[in-house]
């Protein structure tokens, strides 16, 4: 396959291809709709015969995330994926990884909940993703792709950020982006790291103690409160650095806009079309798309919103990111929410109607 060949594939398949190409050492996962194509594609591609990447179907999401804990704790680039109920089951492991500062990557191809819910697309895990999700004060880096191309590109980005900060990173996608096919240029092949490279990049990893260093211990446990508080302060300082350096976002048609739609992931694709439709009707609307949901582009949203007449947060849930937007805008202009629930994906016309009804009146 040529390096620059344009291909057509599903978002889920793109993740599998990208994982192999960006030097991933292992994938551990459990099937669940709508993301099973990730492990199916990996099994089909047999990367263990080419790059040496391991692919293992685990007995549960709980086991998957703990295999990620073990692999990441040993310095390797390891990945898991699931959909909402499975990600809920992984929260224990994710919290432990945050506490032990492990650079694992996990992907949530969201479906509607609560509970077993539906297999149809949703964005209702925003709170879970951006507030930590498990026990304790922590954050994971959250990237929200809005295209099949970004599904592929964000795998390597997530690993880069995870290792840079020794922090779990998540790709928060949904059934729309996972299941849709569109054009994609696969990222270039990048070799897996050698043992020497891993020892250099991850001097903290528990992978066998060379005589020249003390044992490495991967743990989140510390019974002395004074020490545990210091660990927490260290984490909070790290999160501050991430907030300062890693905010990513995109704007479209915002310069002359009177109103701004704020959307992420698949909702942002629908939002783009809503902007087109609104402009056809003479309403000047722009789109602001947070690409990192944590850290959240609060400053950037405030800066943009200040000069506008209002903001509509369109997301496929009952109103989650809207809370972050309201905190960011802090009353400077009206912020309204529009969303559909239970696996229903809003269409662009509904968003234009909501904009008119809630903000323009």
């Amino acid at each position: 396959m040529a390096e620059k060949e344009v291909m057509l594939m599903k978002g889920n398949e793109a993740i599998a291809h990208a994982a192999i190409r960006c030097g991933t050492d292992g994938y551990f996962g459990y099937p669940i709709t709508p993301q099973s194509e990730i492990i199916e594609t990996l099994a089909e591609l047999k990367p263990w015969e080419t790059t040496g990447m391991v692919v293992l179907q685990a007995e549960s999401e709980t086991a998957s995330i703990n295999m990620i804990y073990g692999g990441a704790g040993a310095g390797k680039r390891v990945l898991t994926s699931s959909s909402s109920p499975g990600i809920a089951l992984m929260q224990e492991g994710i919290s432990y990884m945050a506490g032990a500062e492990l650079p694992g990557v996990f992907i949530n191809v969201q479906r509607g909940g609560p509970g077993l819910g539906t297999i149809q697309p949703s964005q209702s895990d925003y709170f879970q993703a951006t507030r930590g999700g498990g026990n304790g004060d922590y954050n994971v880096i959250v990237l929200a792709p809005n295209s099949v191309q970004e599904m592929a590109d964000f795998v390597d980005l997530a690993f880069e950020l995870a290792f840079k900060y020794r922090n779990p990173a998540m790709i928060l996608s949904d059934g729309v982006i996972g299941q849709m096919m569109e054009k994609i240029i696969l990222p270039p092949m990048k070799p897996r790291r050698t043992e020497e490279e891993i020892r250099k990049e991850c001097p903290w990893a528990a992978m066998g103690r060379k005589a020249d260093r003390n044992p490495n211990i991967i743990t989140s446990l510390e019974l002395k409160s004074e020490v545990m508080e210091q660990r927490n302060i260290h984490l909070q300082e790290k999160y501050k650095t991430i907030r300062e350096n890693e905010v990513r976002y995109e704007t479209r048609n915002c310069e002359d806009a009177d109103y701004i739609i704020v959307s992420f992931g698949s909702a942002a694709r629908i939002g783009e079309k809503a902007v087109e439709l609104a402009r056809e009707q003479g309403i000047k609307v722009g789109l602001f798309r947070p690409i990192t949901l944590w850290p959240f582009p609060s400053k950037e949203i405030l800066e943009l919103a200040k000069s506008k007449k209002g903001v509509l947060v369109s997301e496929i849930n009952a109103g989650q990111m809207v809370q972050d937007v309201r905190l960011a805008v802090n009353g400077a202009v009206p912020v309204e929410h529009f969303g559909r629930l239970g696996g229903i994906v809003p269409d662009p016309e509904e968003i234009v109607e909501a904009l008119k009804e809630k903000l323009i009146k």
Partner: protein
Amino acid sequence: MAVNDIIAPENLVYQKPKLMNDTTMHYCPGCSHGVVHKLVAEVIADMEMEEKTVGVCPVGCAVFAYRYLDIDWQEAAHGRAPAVATGVKRMWPDRLVFTYQGDGDLACIGTAETIHALNRGENITIIFINNAIYGMTGGQMAPTTLIGQKTATCPYGRNPDIHGYPLNMTDLASRLEGTCFVTRQSVDTVASITKAKKAIRKAFEASMQGKGSSLVEIVATCNSGWKLTPAQANEWMRENMFPHYVKGDLKDTTGI
């Protein structure tokens, strides 16, 4: 004889294993954990694997095992050690990877991870300390608590009508196709300690030779949890535990 004479190298008849450090152990006097830690440390050193070993700690009394042996360690969530070990071993197949787990960790909350890691034939060793009680949390009922045995959560004795039956994980493990070596040992006498060490050595060798999963159960005492003296605890174990948890090799296809 002065202390310095006693510990002069030429007078030494016994030495702390070189991988054990001087950190004061948190284990109760009389507990079996200290002895098993020592055996693990000795076997790793005997095999010259200290630079290539990753241990995985449980949640339970052995949660701090990483403080005592100078090797690389990962501390797993409760019950998840076999999954963590799977991650490490699959990523570094030439490493010696073992878990060290208690009965609550392995046979209760982590049953699924344990059975599946063993059944996949992961080339790891699981060291299973079975003392029939939850030690760290203060003496509650374990999955391996015997019928009639009193604990903080079955103060009138384990009653199968209410609490169900003791779970024999080692028996189960011996019937899984992925296991190559399944054994049950104890560390209550010098002879049994010698045998337990041999078992751990065989399990570690089997892991390194890629023969499949090994499970080494150590029937152990928890004199604090059982509210007995160390000597009484050993007696109680022999009288009550050994008839139910019969010692010996349940499976050995290692050819080692």
